[in-house]
Symmetry: C2
Subunit: 153 residues, 2 copies
């Protein structure tokens, strides 16, 4: 079949973050919907964020647009503008190069489910607003996390 | 606020298609969620497809990946592989350059709602499998529809 139930895509529960950040974003379930169809120019994850877990450290991308669309439950969006509670049918977009860093946090008592969407750019880098971390991709497209000065964790 | 209800984004009901194709894809409601946040590298539409209406003529893109995620109702996905009924939580991806053309048709008696997602590439062209139409973008990024031989409608 050409189409599948998104729930059939195997969920990943991992993060390339070093500690002490890694344990703030796990456990989680990410289903790489775009990868399931061999897409190379966009990434689309169906993500389940559990109570108490953060989607990422607060960050922004220099070359990748991001958009999140909430399907179930409730998450708190944190940006320079403050905090906002998002429920089903709400959407937020983060333009590449906009230095207003963002993250989602699940402060509720049940899982939240959302789609996270971006283009893919091998030269993309992420900057982190609140913690001493930086991110770039190596030659194979794997995200590499370092201190802001480039030194390894 | 950084996030908005997707339903708040103004809906467009238009198509650049020439007749007799235009009336097969209208009326429709497309809410350009990515545009609402100034995104330039991805396009994300929240689309309502009404009973009897087709999403597009059956087509494929040479440089843009596409992915659709069904939120409400039921649509029929038509590809070279045949037809498949898609309901909420189902997903289909169409890899750039894969010449298996696709379209969605609402054969039910109620509106269907889905997200349609793609990267944006100014050099992208669409090819149509079943009708004498071709598509490219002009210098301003507007889609221009012609006969397959390039002659105007």
């Amino acid at each position: 079949m050409k189409a599948i139930a998104a729930s059939e895509v195997a969920a990943r529960n991992d993060s390339g973050y070093p500690e002490p950040f890694r344990s703030r974003v796990l456990p989680r379930e990410k289903r790489a919907l775009g990868d399931a169809f061999g897409l190379r120019h966009i990434g689309v994850n169906l993500t389940t964020l559990f109570p108490g877990v953060e989607s990422s450290m607060r960050h922004w991308h220099d070359r990748e647009d991001e958009l999140i669309y909430v399907l179930e439950g409730e998450v708190v969006l944190r940006t320079d503008a403050g905090e906002q509670v998002l429920g089903p049918g709400m959407v937020a977009g983060f333009r590449a190069g906009d230095a207003d860093a963002h993250q989602l946090v699940n402060r509720s008592d049940r899982p939240a489910v959302y789609l996270e969407i971006s283009n893919r750019d091998a030269a993309d880098r992420a900057a982190y607003a609140d913690v001493d971390m930086a991110c770039a991709q190596d030659a194979s497209g794997r995200y590499v996390f370092t201190h802001r000065d480039g030194s390894p964790y």
